[in-house]
Amino acid sequence: MSKDNTPKLPPLPDDGSRAEAGRARREAAAQALRDQKKAARRRRVLVQIAVGLVVVLVGVGITVLALNSGDDDATVAADVPASGIPAQVNADGAYVTGAKKPKVTIQVVEDFQCPICQQFEQVSGSLLDEYISGDVVQVQYRTIAFLDRMSSTEYSTRALNASACVMPAGEDVWRRFHTALFANQPPEQGDGLPDETLISLAEQAGAPDSVASCITDQPYRAWTASTTQAAFDAGVTGTPTIFVNGTKLDAFTPDVIKAAVDKALAK
């Protein structure tokens, strides 16, 4: 093509700056797109957080409400008729042994299904026996039943009911039965001890024959639930828990108990 054929057009900007302008525009467009995507991503994250929070709150809320309404049994159990409460327990639901007018009171919170309570009985039982045979210290056995899920037969509850059945037979019989229950404690995740075994242990401890029907009929069942709830309401969080004159001990070794008792006596 000859130069003469070139149409008369306004002068073009030189190629370099044209390309630059295009690049700048593309970059601006790409930046806008990136910003847009970023905003979309942020929106997506926010929506996820919101949805997640709502679902978690609603899910937990509904479940807790449903579970709470299932607890009505337990609240009913709080109004246990007097006939369903063992006559021998004190206001805390504890069986009282040892000194009648004590200078120091030891309260032992246990569950017959609790393996650490069994260890506690092995390690500190003789110290408690010593105190019980003296006349300064009172030992209150506040047994609760919160480990029913550890056996397929609600052993915690049945054992506590059985313990209440043996109470009328007197302190010596009850303490023998108490010792026998821990000595024969069934393993967790098992079937617990059958009623027949509870009955024979009670009779070996010296309980009268009438104990058999009490163990099978469980007249103290509602009380076991209410006394357990009362203990948790009073600040017990697990077993064994030892109170000396109302103060919860950090540990339950004989040394710690003895130190706490001596300190209380020194006052």
């Binding site: 937990v60 479940t63 480990l147 948790f232």
Partner: protein, 211 residues
Amino acid sequence: MEGMTDLADPEVEADDLDLHSPPSFRAYGVALVVLGAIGLAASFTLLVDKIKLLQDPNFTPSCDINPVLSCGSVMIKPQAGVFGFPNPMLGLIGFSVIITMGVLYASGARPQRWLLGGLVAGSLAGLTFVHWLFYQSLYEIGALCPWCMVVWAVTIALSVWTVLLAGRVMRPDSTVIATLFDIRFLLIVLWYLGIGLAILVRFWDYWRTLL
């Protein structure tokens, strides 16, 4: 106008319509390192506690908090050593591999695809095992071990992420997988919620005593 043609560029437009950004391997790598490190720490603690428990049967593990939250009672159960050795040993091996792979991805390396497949297989095996342990812990043993639950949590998170990332790589056109990948955190939270609710229901008789 030239500006219009620029925006109408088919390539840009397609990209614009696709709101799902391509998965970031770097973020995945960082997640693997963090989650793997947490899992490794938990496994390590569990194994150390197990050894101490063997040396001294009266030893109380650091996480024996209350009757429900207690490693001690879980650790001594046969389920804690299904394969004839303590489970946390698997964790030590598995999470070490996860961390190594995480460092690789986080450093910008792009290993062969089949490596991602290996991670999928490994994390799914872990996920299955963790859920079996979850079932055993709740419904057979009846106690929870906090460090074990940390392992459950990280295994769930890294499995979800790994599987969805692999899905994105294998099926880049699937909008379903892309959407699932985008909401992976929500999926993980929902998974945790399911487990949390199961725990809430199972141990309600204990939790309510704390109210």
